[in-house]
């Protein structure tokens, strides 16, 4: 019962947060009409005032709802839905691949640092992680591009995508490792892990049945994993730009610069749908592993 209540509250927060963000993005972008300014820059005539937000927003909502979510308005270069549909595959590939690889490699490294490479754990947490955290992501992406063109000055699209994903994974791994490691170290200190080991339960079973589920529920790794998508949106924008891949981020920037509020709002909506799906999955896992909320409440 507590789990269902928790899921319902999460859903309510997500809907409010998403609606607010989409409306805010639409409002801010609808105030810009850079094209009109450019057109009239040399004349004495003042640029026409942008269309009132309320009218434009109401029209957009009406279009979206009346078309049963198949029409998301028009942009300067065509229907918003078509533009996003043509760019979404590359953004989704970059985002999902680097997210999965980043978190999996982080888990692998953290497990290694708590078992075989234990002496390096402190070095990672106190030296490597803060340094990696401070390095600007664009710089790493450009370095990867520089190395790539030394080997192949005319790389194929596939190679560019692969190297772009690799650069994002390298950017993510220190922080994902730090988060996993922090959670694993906390759980390993718990009494039940020591008892399980003393009872002679195999190491693999201890990790599978006790350590990893408790890390997931109590250390906040799941929440961080979902919210790391926000960081990936930025990283993905750089990868799409530097590796000349084209993606939703590029379209969002163009939309924001040229006052295409429909396009910006749709991109924001898309981002929140992904985020909401991630949050709900994470909440579902937590509720499944810890139905009473005892672990998560004890640690937060």
């Amino acid at each position: 019962m507590r789990g269902v209540k928790r899921l319902a509250t999460t859903l309510l927060i997500l809907i409010s947060f998403g609606t607010l963000s989409v409306t805010f993005a639409f409002y801010i972008v609808s105030r810009t009409d850079e094209l009109a300014e450019e057109r009239l820059q040399m004349s004495d005539v003042k640029p026409p005032p942008p269309e009132a937000f309320s009218e434009r927003y109401a029209r957009w909502i009406k279009t979206v709802v009346s078309s049963r979510f198949s029409d998301f308005g028009q942009s300067r270069t065509g229907p918003v839905k078509n533009i996003v549909a043509s760019r979404l595959p590359i953004t989704a590939t970059i985002g999902m691949s680097s997210w999965l690889l980043g978190w999996t490699c982080g888990l692998g490294l953290a497990v290694g640092l708590t078992t075989r490479w234990r002496p390096w754990a402190q070095f990672h947490q106190q030296r490597l992680y803060p340094i990696a955290h401070a390095v600007p992501s664009l710089v790493v992406v450009i370095l990867f591009y520089l190395v790539m063109i030394q080997f192949d000055p005319h790389p194929s699209r596939q190679l560019r995508t692969g190297v772009g994903i690799a650069s994002l994974v390298v950017l993510m791994v220190p922080s994902t490792t730090a988060l996993w490691l922090n959670g694993i170290q906390r759980v390993l200190q718990q009494e039940y892990v020591r008892v399980a080991r003393a009872r002679g339960i195999s190491s693999v079973t201890v990790w599978r049945r006790h350590v990893l589920p408790n890390v997931l529920v109590s250390s906040g790794v799941l929440t961080q994993a979902v919210f790391s998508l926000a960081g990936l949106v930025v990283g993905s924008a750089f990868v799409e730009g530097v590796f000349r891949l084209g993606g939703v981020a590029e379209a969002f920037i163009a939309a924001a610069t040229h006052g295409q509020a429909e396009m910006a709002a749709f991109a924001t909506l898309l981002y929140f749908l992904v985020l909401a799906a991630g949050v709900l999955i994470a909440e579902g896992i937590t509720v499944y592993l810890d139905p009473d909320g005892a672990q998560s409440h004890a640690n937060w």
Binding site: E34, P130, V135, P136, L138, V139, Q224, A230, I253, A256
Partner: protein
């Protein structure tokens, strides 16, 4: 008895420390007076000239060659370092002020309302990509808007995004220090709140402050660099981001590629300055609670 020879490793370590301090001093001078080491960056019809100590065409040094506008790249880079670092320092100072004010207030009062605001702010900061917000805010201003207004709005967004995480860290520390016996003793002896905070609480916040500075300053550098690459930068501002973007734009030119590598090295140096200083001073710039 002959004097004992110093171990080679120690001499090397000491030399390394002095070199790093010297580099930090030079960086500090470049930030304060950027034109003191190089020529003024003037436009000349000599774009991407190779590096030389003295270029006869432009009649001044070109240690790093010239950029796409024919300006001495060393001069351009010096100005860019100065601009970016000043913005980063100013922003970090604003964040630190906000974090200390909000964190101390929350830690001392344990207000439920402020606690809830900070917690939701922390979640919001994690969920909302700040670059997307910055792009939206920066583009909403018309082209005729004064540069300072646009830049201030962007800085304000960055400062607001950085405050919740740091404030929670400070609040937690203030709360735990306030519960110690020495703080209770200080208050029992009639010390004022300000005296107790300054003498007993603040010294315990230094490690957290070091961590906040070490993570916030690079964020300002990263945002400036990233936004300039995306074409949405601070207005009337020529920082490291623009230098990087322009070099990257001509990446297939050998000189531009060299300048790109130099710019990347400089960006990494500027972003890591707090970490380096903390290492030199043996301060632990890392907070377990922050991971």
């Amino acid at each position: 008895m002959g004097h004992k020879a110093m171990p080679t490793g120690s001499v090397r370590q000491r030399c390394g420390r002095y070199t790093v301090w010297a580099l930090l001093l030079i960086t500090g001078l470049v930030v304060v007076v950027p034109s003191s080491f190089t020529a003024q960056p003037k436009r000349e019809a000599n774009s991407f000239a190779p590096p030389s100590w003295y270029d006869r065409t432009v009649q001044h040094e070109c240690v790093l060659g010239t950029d796409y506008l024919g300006r001495s790249y060393a001069a351009v880079l010096g100005r860019a370092i100065s601009a970016t670092t000043r913005v980063a320092f100013f922003g970090t100072a604003a964040v630190l002020f906000g974090v200390l004010a909000v964190g101390t207030l929350q830690g001392s009062t344990q207000s439920k309302l402020l606690g809830a605001i900070l917690a939701s702010g922390n979640l919001g900061v994690m969920a909302v990509p700040q670059v997307a917000v910055l792009i939206t805010i920066a583009t909403s201003w018309s082209r005729t808007s004064p540069a300072w207004m646009v830049n201030t709005s962007m800085m304000a967004v960055l400062v607001l995004f950085a405050i919740p995480t740091g404030a929670r860290l400070i609040a937690e520390r203030v709360r735990s220090v306030n519960q110690t016996r020495f703080v209770a003793a200080s208050q029992a002896f009639g010390a004022s709140w300000w005296y107790t905070f300054r003498r007993d609480v603040f010294p315990h916040l230094l490690e957290d402050i070091a961590w906040i500075v070490a993570s916030v300053l690079p964020m300002f550098v990263a945002v400036e660099v990233g936004l300039a690459y995306l074409g949405i930068e601070y207005r009337e501002f020529e920082g490291l981001g623009r230098a990087l973007a322009k070099s990257f734009g001509s990446i297939f030119n050998g000189i531009a590629q060299f300048q790109l590598v130099v710019t990347i090295a400089v960006i990494l140096w500027v972003a890591l300055i707090p970490q380096i200083i903390l290492k030199l001073l043996n301060v632990r710039g890392f907070a377990e609670e922050s991971v």
